[in-house]
């Protein structure tokens, strides 16, 4: 009996005992697993202690199967070794899984019928803490008071073919983590963002083939950037679509160097979502850089917004934890910036957006302006933004591509159709709706990963798959 088989035999006995006893694990993050009758999933019979020879607990194939071999996902995760796959069979699992092991994959057999359900009591569906090379794929995570999937302090992560639905904070949340890939996600029903990457620079991360809707924000990234790409995704029916932003309540400010290419961004005016205050403030905008620096926004199709299609805006922070970083500090890595001591600025601060590039996007029916650049108290012409090659009708200020071309010198009157963004503070958008009961689209059957039952683990170490940015065009309207 090799070590894996030994471990599985023991785990099988434990699983049987737990099923018979109908009690939870000793880890606070786990509760009893209950394969669902409603999903049509097979219900695994308890395994009598006397019938758990090693031959019945699975081949040594690198798959640790739940619940056949392990009663709970947490047990399997705790037993998994680097390179192994925790393979979850169809069913509903009322668990909050914590991962501290390096190099493991947590995979559902089917994205739509493997459901982690927090029942509005548990905090995170799957939470990876400080580990390296973690993969979560092919499952649904719903009804958690915090996040569907959360990685923090992780180096190397891939979250793929995951549905995050009705969660109290974010759908998919990467914090202080680098070398990541988030793809083929459906995220709906979070008051903050469906997808969030925060506090990393350089992040070296990719968000691709995501659909994020009915959230406060489709995408939010606070103090993140540097080799961070949001591509070929759809952000629709949120309060606001894609909102990179800065804030001093967490580290590594400002947000900078996020590349946003080839996305469909539309109809982000949704007033019946749960929403944090920032989402209320940003409501009605497609892509809104809120106090971000040196971002590239290119080849996106953006339409149907009550305010702006692509806006470069200031972001007020009424209760800051530091003074604004100097431009010299923009070059610090996240780790370097953590060594800089904060200074009480003595009052509110305003994060201006600086040096953003907006080119070759296609915009229509953004009712206040297709393209916008604004500030409060700073001359917008000095912020270093540029606009070129966009297909658009309206801008604020007018003729924005003449004022601030990406090649050559601008000319014109920056006060012509000056955008008074301070008016946003005077508006009263529809209030937030409780995330637990907000109306959401019913979950449809979504694409699962290919060959879940047989595909070998693919390491997330080393970061995301290479992108061919040049091959990404402006996407067609659906």
């Amino acid at each position: 009996m090799n070590s894996t088989m030994t471990r599985r035999a023991l785990a099988g006995l434990t699983a049987a005992a737990m099923l018979l006893a109908s009690c939870g694990g000793d880890d606070a993050a786990t509760t009893t697993t209950q394969p669902s009758a409603t999903t049509g999933a097979p219900v695994t019979e308890p395994m009598p202690e006397t019938s758990a020879p090693e031959t019945t607990v699975g081949a040594d194939d690198g798959f640790l199967t739940v619940p056949t071999e392990f009663a709970t996902i947490q047990e399997a995760v705790d037993a998994a070794a680097e390179g192994e796959i925790v393979y979850i069979e169809p069913g509903t699992y009322n668990e909050a899984v914590s991962v501290t092991t390096n190099g493991i994959t947590i995979r559902g057999a089917d994205r739509n019928t493997v459901v982690l359900d927090g029942q509005f009591e548990l905090e995170n569906g799957i939470r990876a803490l400080g580990s390296k090379d973690i993969v979560v794929e092919n499952l649904t995570s719903m009804n958690y008071t915090k996040n569907g999937v959360f990685v923090t302090g992780v180096d190397g992560y891939r979250i793929s073919y995951v549905t995050a639905y009705r969660t109290g904070d974010y759908g998919v949340y990467a914090f202080d983590s680098v070398n990541g890939q988030i793809d083929h996600i459906y995220a709906a029903g979070s008051p903050d963002a469906g997808i969030y990457i925060g506090e990393c620079f350089p992040c070296n991360a990719v968000v691709s083939h995501v659909v994020s809707e009915h959230n406060g924000l489709g995408y939010s990234g606070t103090n993140s950037g540097g080799d961070l790409y949001i591509v070929e995704s759809t952000f629709r029916y949120n309060r606001a679509g894609i909102v990179p932003n800065s804030g001093s309540y967490e580290l590594c400010y400002p947000e900078r160097q996020t590349t946003i290419i080839g996305n469909l961004v539309h109809s982000n005016n949704q007033g019946d979502t749960p929403a944090i205050d920032v989402a209320l403030l940003a409501m009605g905008n497609g892509i809104l850089v809120a106090g971000g620096v040196d971002n590239l926004i290119e080849r996106n199709r953006v339409w149907d917004h009550d305010k702006t299609g692509i806006g470069l805006a200031p972001f007020p922070e009424d209760d800051p934890n530091d003074e604004l970083p100097t431009q010299e500090e923009w070059d610090l890595t996240c780790e370097e910036s953590k060594q800089v001591a904060p200074v009480d600025p003595g009052g509110a601060i305003i994060w201006d957006s600086w040096f953003n590039t907006v080119r070759d996007n296609v915009l229509e029916d953004n009712r206040q302006a297709d393209l916008m650049a604004a500030s409060v108290g700073t001359d917008v012409s000095t912020l270093g933004h540029c606009f070129s090659g966009n297909t658009f009708t309206t801008s604020a200020p007018n003729a924005i591509e003449t004022l601030a071309p990406c090649d050559g010198t601008g000319s014109g009157d920056w006060m012509d159709n000056f955008y008074n963004i301070a008016l946003w503070l005077t508006e009263t958008p529809p209030p937030s709706v409780d995330w637990k009961v907000a109306e959401l689209p019913a979950l449809e059957t979504l694409e699962s990963m290919p060959d879940a039952a047989t595909a070998p683990a693919v390491s997330a170490a080393g970061g995301p798959a290479a992108l061919d940015l040049a091959s990404i065009g402006v996407p067609d309207k659906p």
Partner: protein, 314 residues
């Protein structure tokens, strides 16, 4: 201009804080000499004015993320003139408190009651009772908005040696009978989730809510779940080390209450009296294994398990 890593720019009333800390240490020693019953709440309760032993080496403020933490945000539960730590079994004897976390808290609550009850917290398995004095505008209590509990290692304390609070553990921080400013490192006022700290309530300019921020001791005597003055069984670490009298490093709880008040605080008083009497109470009603798991995963694991952004539900 590049800033340095010198942390002296923070708002700290160091001179007074040191003096108060010395007095606190003396009082603490006196309390310890008075003796404590082991393994359970004591039957003798000092009702007013206990003082913490020591104080944090510096004010804990600024961006989150430099040290490991987990955070629990709790909605306001209820108000009552009850205090199950200081006036156990005697309803109506206390000044008015505002309660967060456990929905069960009353004058007779035990930690077992709390664990068996419900919670207003985003982490439903944090059923601890947290409370502070009501903030009064004349005869009216100002509605609290929510509380935020930050759990971290004490300043400079090795995260690996930090322990979860034991079952049944209670403590008080801040002096409910103070007649002058307390150390800002223990009791402070701020605005929203910002860095600003003051010994007295401040005008938050209309945009941000006033917060009371109380930092609890992070060292325990290892024997007593409470003490007659509800302070003497715990103390603050200094330079990353717990005193020999209280050798067990425990989580450092920083507890903030946000009140629905954003303008001139002149005339506001705490229900415990004046503006100097800021304090807060904690009864451990966590599902114990959850508290221990969070301590292990987040504090020993040295990761940030949560951030309180100040970006609130709209």
């Amino acid at each position: 201009m590049r800033r340095t890593s010198d942390r002296s720019g923070r708002v700290v009333r160091r001179g007074f804080a040191r003096r108060a800390g010395s007095v606190g240490a003396l009082l603490g020693v006196v309390s310890l000499l008075g003796g404590c019953a082991p393994d359970g709440p004591t039957s003798v309760h000092q009702h007013n004015g206990g003082v913490s032993i020591g104080q944090p080496d510096e004010v804990i403020a600024g961006p989150q993320g430099r040290v490991p933490q987990f955070v629990v945000e709790c909605a306001y539960s209820h108000a009552a003139q009850d205090d199950p730590i200081v006036w156990p079994g005697q309803p109506g004897m206390s000044h008015l408190h505002v309660f967060f976390g456990s929905t069960e808290t009353n004058a007779s609550s035990t930690t077992a009651d709390l664990v068996a009850g419900d919670s207003t917290c985003d982490n439903q398995r944090d059923r601890a009772a947290y409370w502070s004095p009501a903030l009064m505008n004349g005869q009216e209590s100002i509605d609290p908005v929510k509380s935020t509990a930050y759990y971290r290692p004490g300043i400079g304390v090795d995260p690996q040696i930090v322990n979860a609070f034991p079952e049944g553990f209670t403590m008080v921080a801040g002096n409910s009978a103070a007649t002058e400013e307390q150390p800002v490192s223990i009791v402070a006022w701020g605005c929203g989730a910002g860095i600003e700290r003051s010994a007295l309530p401040i005008d938050c300019g209309g945009e941000r809510n006033l917060r009371l921020i109380v930092t609890f001791p992070d060292c325990w005597d290892g024997a007593n779940l409470d003490s007659p003055d509800h302070h003497a069984h715990v103390a603050y670490s200094s330079k990353g080390v717990c005193p020999t009298s209280h050798p067990v490093p425990v989580l450092q709880l920083q507890f903030a209450v946000e009140y629905d008040w954003a303008t001139d605080p002149t005339g506001l008083v705490l229900a415990s009296g004046g503006q100097h009497t800021g304090h807060a109470d904690f009864m451990n009603g966590w599902v114990q294994e959850v508290l221990e798991t969070e301590t292990r995963l987040c504090i020993h694991g040295e990761v940030v398990c949560g951030i309180a952004s100040g970006r609130t539900d709209g």
